[in-house]
Subunit: 175 residues, 4 copies
DNA sequence: CATGAATGAGGCTTCATTCAT
DNA sequence: CATGAATGAAGCCTCATTCAT
């Protein structure tokens, strides 16, 4: 799974399964005892990464703090994960736009992010985006997050600054 | 070119050249009298779409109006183009993240968007993002734009509402 | 025809007809108003070059001189042609081993060399190779000639020396 | 490898890899698990055949006999190999003039023939060709050898006679 | 369960040849 | 007769997947 992330980050979704197997240190044949299909592998990887990202984002969430603090915590965690796992992030970015990912996986992936969505929901409800569909707000947050992560990875020495900057921009949008 | 956009929108960047040729109503081999390579075709398509999108965005720009009005005009035009050319938009979105696009094409593409960047620059300089790198601001705008366009296409009856909503969100970020 | 020789010398028999046309300064389509087929072009080129080579070899043959002198004249002329027309020679070498050349062409080509063969015949008849088939003697001469020409072209400053050396070797074989 | 020799002998270097695979009794794709490239296959075949030919030529060389006897042994062995492996010989002949064969392969191939060259060297040094470059002498021997082999294969009933005849001719050239 | 050779469908690209202008 | 765009068959090569060991 980790090998797959690395290989996909480096070679894109078209990466040969043989390469993934090699990176994982198993034979190409063995790959298919774990995954029926390349698409299957991709879907599982998608779910894994989505879950890992979501889990990290929520770790240590200060449930009693105000919304801004909670959101900032979530945002920082998320950006931190992305910055420290550039390959996983890159792989996830590719998977997000792939049409190999089934609607089912997509749905499960979204479910994983439920807590984040709930947090966002409470913010949206009383802010200027109260009339926007929830999906839109989530999508915007993801888009801004992706962009921010890109810049953090690209310019690691200013990672923290970028992280803060991204959050402030997001917050201005939301409240 | 238009056929390529349609096919890529429907089948992704991995679409067989044969399919593109068929959609264009020419033979498989003929494609390669126009483009040396599939990558070449992709690069030209990228530049074409980028140019068309940028051109449309700037058409009729009210140069004397205030920044907000100019930006809104640009935004509406851009969203309108996306909404009315969903296939081109989808194709361009795929090309934007493809690694078949050469750095040269990428650079040319960015040059095409110079006027838009300039407009944004004047806004950024005196707003809360004055310390953010210009590239970041542009990237954010694109990200929010892409997301908004997705929703407009997905829910055409509320396209205008989405368009306005996206702009307002963007504007809150910028000023 | 000359263009074909140049292109084939440079790119081998697999050279695209389009390249030959371009080198000849005509359109690719025009080529096929002169030659029905690529194979046809190749056959005509083969005959042309064979004829030119044979003609040059025999030009100014001192019919009254002794056999050695006549043979040396022929040999020098032949080597001189090869050395001064390396592209034609190279093209002819390729054509000689091509299976695009029809038996008919092959036969005609041999006929062109009849006078040379006759000369050789008179030498063979009374020398140590009197029991060898004529075709063998001709083939040997061609083989030695090709090898010699290669060295002359490869090392032009010693062309004359090579020419003489080759002839002497041939002569030792024949008499 | 043997299949490749057969197919190339019959169809030339342009033979489809599919044909070679079929002749070898494996699938089209399997060929490329053994050879990265058609050119790679060709180079390996060249080296194989060159080595086999050289090895056969030197097998049982009577090191204590005089030079003439040694050379005749080598010559007979070589001609025998050619006569008994007409397909391999034909394939090797094609490969010898192909530009798919890399300089590296070419060099390795020549190294294989070193012992033969040494033998020839000792003969050349004191004969009439003492001033000729060694490469030229080797090339001549190959040329005469090829021609002789052709006749042996073409007229098998007189193979031995041709073999002897060719050697005598060669020997007259050398001493 | 692991292996890795074998498979063959399918993709990109080339090129001799045709034909409307 | 010249042109050059169009054609499509054919070639090389890749790769997801299978299966005997």
């Amino acid at each position: 799974m980790a090998a797959a992330a690395r290989v996909i980050a480096a070679h894109g979704l078209g990466a040969p399964t043989a390469l993934i197997a090699e990176e994982a240190g198993v034979s190409n044949g063995s790959l298919f005892t774990y995954f029926d299909t390349k698409a299957d592998l991709l879907n599982q990887l998608y779910l894994d990464l989505k879950a890992e990202s979501a889990f990290t984002s929520l770790k240590g969430l200060p449930l009693r703090a105000d919304l801004r603090k909670q959101t900032f915590h979530m945002w920082s965690q998320s950006m931190g994960w992305a910055a420290q796992n550039p390959e996983k992030r890159r792989a996830l970015a590719q998977l997000n736009v792939s049409d190999e990912i089934t609607p089912t996986s997509r749905a499960t992936g979204h479910k994983t992010m439920k807590p984040i969505a709930s947090l966002l929901e409470r913010i949206r409800a009383k802010g200027p985006m109260r009339d926007a569909p929830m999906g839109y707000v989530v999508a915007i947050m993801n888009a801004v997050g992706d962009t921010t992560a890109d810049f953090m990875i690209h310019d690691p020495s200013n990672a923290n600054k970028h992280c803060k900057m991204g959050f402030d921009a997001l917050w201005r949008m939301l409240v």
